[in-house]
Subunit: 213 residues, 4 copies
Amino acid sequence: MTQNQILSSVKNAELVEIRRNQMIKGAITLFKEKGFHRTTTREIAKESGFSIGTLYEYIRTKEDVLFLVCDAIYEQVHERLEAAIDLENPSVTNLEKVIESYFYLMDEMQEEVVIMYQEVKSLKKDTKEYVLQKERDMVGMLEKVIVTCLPHEISKQDAELMANNIFIQGHMWGFRRWVLQKQFTLKEYIDRQIHYLMESLAIDRTIAKDKEA
Amino acid sequence: MTQNQILSSVKNAELVEIRRNQMIKGAITLFKEKGFHRTTTREIAKESGFSIGTLYEYIRTKEDVLFLVCDAIYEQVHERLEAAIDLENPSVTNLEKVIESYFYLMDEMQEEVVIMYQEVKSLKKDTKEYVLQKERDMVGMLEKVIVTCLPHEISKQDAELMANNIFIQGHMWGFRRWVLQKQFTLKEYIDRQIHYLMESLAIDRTIAKDKEA
Amino acid sequence: MTQNQILSSVKNAELVEIRRNQMIKGAITLFKEKGFHRTTTREIAKESGFSIGTLYEYIRTKEDVLFLVCDAIYEQVHERLEAAIDLENPSVTNLEKVIESYFYLMDEMQEEVVIMYQEVKSLKKDTKEYVLQKERDMVGMLEKVIVTCLPHEISKQDAELMANNIFIQGHMWGFRRWVLQKQFTLKEYIDRQIHYLMESLAIDRTIAKDKEA
Amino acid sequence: MTQNQILSSVKNAELVEIRRNQMIKGAITLFKEKGFHRTTTREIAKESGFSIGTLYEYIRTKEDVLFLVCDAIYEQVHERLEAAIDLENPSVTNLEKVIESYFYLMDEMQEEVVIMYQEVKSLKKDTKEYVLQKERDMVGMLEKVIVTCLPHEISKQDAELMANNIFIQGHMWGFRRWVLQKQFTLKEYIDRQIHYLMESLAIDRTIAKDKEA
DNA sequence: AATGAATGAGACTTCATTCAT
DNA sequence: GATGAATGAAGTCTCATTCAT
């Protein structure tokens, strides 16, 4: 579905998926280590377990690999996030759980997140748009959870701001790890961040409670 | 002072500073556009207004330019931040003012910030350490303001967390501009972020007020 | 066998040998003309009949070419010298024949010898050691012939000295050609050098004859 | 006198000589270490104790430095050799003394000799001719000593051959030092070489003695 | 489909030489 | 006479991409 933006000379769709997944896995390993620009296509091919010739049977340019990687990363975040969200029973507790899940996920995907921060800009306009849209979707999911789970009204704008804040606080755990992970365990980090997020909604909650009353 | 880590064949220190500033200016322009890796040393020389030979009279390698750029950016942030901080008269209002100043600064330096996010990783161990230390210093300044201006006690850990949050919320305005700057004016963004930051300290403030009483 | 010290990205060993031989041939042509330092890698590639990219598929650095050339030259000398030596029937005549063959060989390889004299010093420690060892081997072969073919005893030291003298008298024909080849035909040169070499062993020979008697 | 082939913008002849001697000294130091091609003009200037600009006041091109160096080396050999030769009282002992002196000189000037072997070829036609002529002169001096000191007649050709042999046996001590200087002390080397040289003239000497009788 | 040898544009960097001060 | 900053041609090497097998 999503990978179809990238042309391949190989017709067998199943094979294309297999090879591209090998490629994504190999590329992420390398990008984590040395970044996109310092990684060569030969290295990607080798790490993926096939030859440079074969690599180019499945992509057209090196940038295609970057796109596949970015796409795969967001795809993974999307899946996991979706699985964590349950809008059937909205509640503040529920909101907290989603945020907690998201933070745990970001801990797992620290290095992938760093790749995104560093390399997305290297994508060409079109593919960049596409990847950024996926990112927006993800923030949108958080935003929806906020709006749905809060007991009181919150402006669209404020909801978006909170969603963005949560979003990057998740990333921050990864890309500022050399500072944060010295001072906090993951659990502490999550607890304090959620604590402050909830605090920042306090007054409104009071008002909301008044409304309820 | 800070540039002295990079060797130059030119002896005249004053001239070195002039040329390096030209170089930093030119490089930032180009890095904003196409990033460090896609910018060639020839382009940097040309944009700086001198020949490739002259460029290499003032640096040893291309990476030196990146270091100079990163160093200059943090230097600028440091100066401006320092100027904005007044610890003589600590008060919550004062804290708000510092945060506001910082956000305005981050608006001005959006693209520089993006460069840092994308390219710092390309620095070699030593220079990276140096640059990251400067970053830590900056967060440290925010942390100190928080501790000093809050009317109540706050744990070292929490102060650090808040400082980090503020720090990256400033960056976020720049590197997520395609989202945020569609929904917020700068003033709105600053207002809402400060609003929520203050809220998140609410309970404590109440306690503090109780103490005062 | 000997070329294996130099890494190649190309796996096919047979092809590596073919290309390297092209390269050695091309490089020797150019080194004769302008020396190692004044010859560019592009020129070597062109003279060898392939592109600069291909050149670097078979070597890592320009110095590798020099090593390959030095190695090939000594390899050739070695083979030819070995073929000329017959230790089954040691005799003074036999010794004279070996020396003669060696001088003829040095005549053929004049320019290669000049290359060695001028450029070996440019090799890095390791490869230089390797090449010099090969040279020692060659002198060792001459030394062995001397010891074996002389009818009388000769000290190890003297044998080594004679071998070294013969060795460089062979070279001298090439690197002092602008003097010697004006005054001597090759045959004359060989005759007179052998004459004097034999004379210098005269007394000993007499002693030897006495012994025999 | 000899340096006058090289143009200088500086008029003061005395100064020119001073500066050029500094230059030659500095350059030899560097050429010993890394050869002509790997030494930069900047390094030569620095080692000589003045600036690159000044260097170019006294020469026109880098090759001029090489010429000055080669010229100076032969000049020195020439002077020393001349001092050692005394044709007033020709005798075999006298010949031996000259050869001995020459070998001692070559021991002192080992590295300079290596420079000559490696770099003369880099000189342009004209200057090369000039330097080679000086070399021929030196061999000529040896030749003359041989002819004069030998008690018997020797053909012009043979005298030249012997002179050339002696000439390069002197060099050999330096450029094959890693072999010879392990096996011989300087004294041993000289003794054995002279021994064999004298032996090679043995028969003739006998004849000569007959004549005398 | 898979391979890997071949290609060459283009990157970084050096360094001999000049010339204004 | 001395200086050293400026220049840019030219060198080495890399690597994305192609294509014959």
